[in-house]
Amino acid sequence: MEGLAQDIFAELIDDVCLGLCFEVHRSAKCGFFFLDDVDAESMQEFEIVDKAGVDIFGQVYNQCKNRDCECPNCGRTIAAARFAPHLEKCLGMGRNSSRLANRRLANSNNSSLNKSESDPEDNDDINDNDWSYSSEKKAKKRKADKNPNSPRRAKSLKHKNGEIGSGISDIMKQCGVISEHTKKMCTRSHRCPQHTDDQRRASALETEEVDVDGYDGVENTSYEPSCLWDATSDTSPTDSVSSKNSESPPQPPISCGYDGCGISAKDSVSHGVADDADPEGTTSSDSKKNKKSHIQCSPIPAAQTGMVACSGKKKKRPPTPGSSP
């Protein structure tokens, strides 16, 4: 047994030696076996320096720290510590430089647009449109200009809907219904199937911040007496609404869409406001908006009610929807 143990041990040693030989042979042939060897001359040359004020190579401290670099872009000599931020701005890369540039662009745009918006033509438009669209445009545009390219595009998109430079040609021809979920204006056309005219008026009115429960609009003398409700009350509850509305040519879409009833949205508040007198009113969620507006002025599509009642009263609230003239 002892012999066996010895033999086993001897075999193990042989294996280890063989492994060592392989290792040495490979390193010798690859050329890194003799790297540790040093001769006396190089030993002295590269000896470790142990003096004070000097590092182990014998070099003095602080020499490299004050090196100035030459910017390859602008050619200026910049201190090494300030070189990286300078390059960032000089080359226009990096986070902060893009933000700065955007801000500058926004400011310049804003200032140039402020001049154009004060044109007399635009002022006229402001007066004409009771929806005071341009003022809204201005307010929204300023907000958007803060961060035109920022990550907050979801919000600024909302404002873009009202921007002058937006891709949509004429904003007055948009549907304009502001969705409750996304707070965005619907940019589809006036005939967009998702929104009814009532919603359009409602959205317009809500942004108007008119006291819909008050009687302010009632005293409006610009009210056209020729509100021919009877003549047009026989519209079918289906899509003829939109067609009717489109027939009234120069009216903004948010006015009372009936032919001949050319009351703009602002006035239309009084046009048939009956939030309390509308028991048979629309039951859908839109009805809440509609209640505040003069829903009764339009033939509400069948989905909502079959009721058509523009009472057409001037100074009084219409008593009930059913008692329309």
Binding site: M1, A5, L12, I13, V16, C17, L20, V24, A28, K29
Partner: protein
């Protein structure tokens, strides 16, 4: 020390009991993984005691003598192995032998 009997000594004859025993034990050693463990242990110990550095220095001398281009693995092995065996410190040898004996004692009865 008893004479070593290699397998090569019994090429055509039926293996003797001794040889059979050796064979079976070796097999067990390998199957168990004990052999590898022993080898690793030996390597570690030899490095710790400096045996490996000594051997490397010896190799350097040999290579310098023979010239780098002509050195082969076989030459190295034949030169180095006797020296390697001789240079193993006794403590290492003793410990390993101890372990081998323990293993033999445990496994020879199966």
């Amino acid at each position: 020390m008893t004479s070593r009997r290699n397998m090569a000594d019994f090429p055509d004859r039926k293996l003797s009991k001794d040889a059979q025993l050796r064979q079976s034990i070796n097999q067990k050693l390998i199957e168990n993984g004990e052999r590898d463990r022993l080898k690793e242990l030996l390597r570690t110990k030899l490095i710790e005691c400096g045996w490996k550095d000594q051997m490397k220095a010896h190799c350097k001398e040999i290579i310098r003598q023979k010239g780098l281009e002509h050195v082969t693995v076989e030459e190295l092995v034949t030169e180095i192995t006797p020296r390697g065996r001789a240079l193993v410190p006794d403590s290492v040898k003793k410990e390993l032998l101890q372990r081998i004996r323990t293993f033999l004692a445990q496994n020879s009865n199966f």
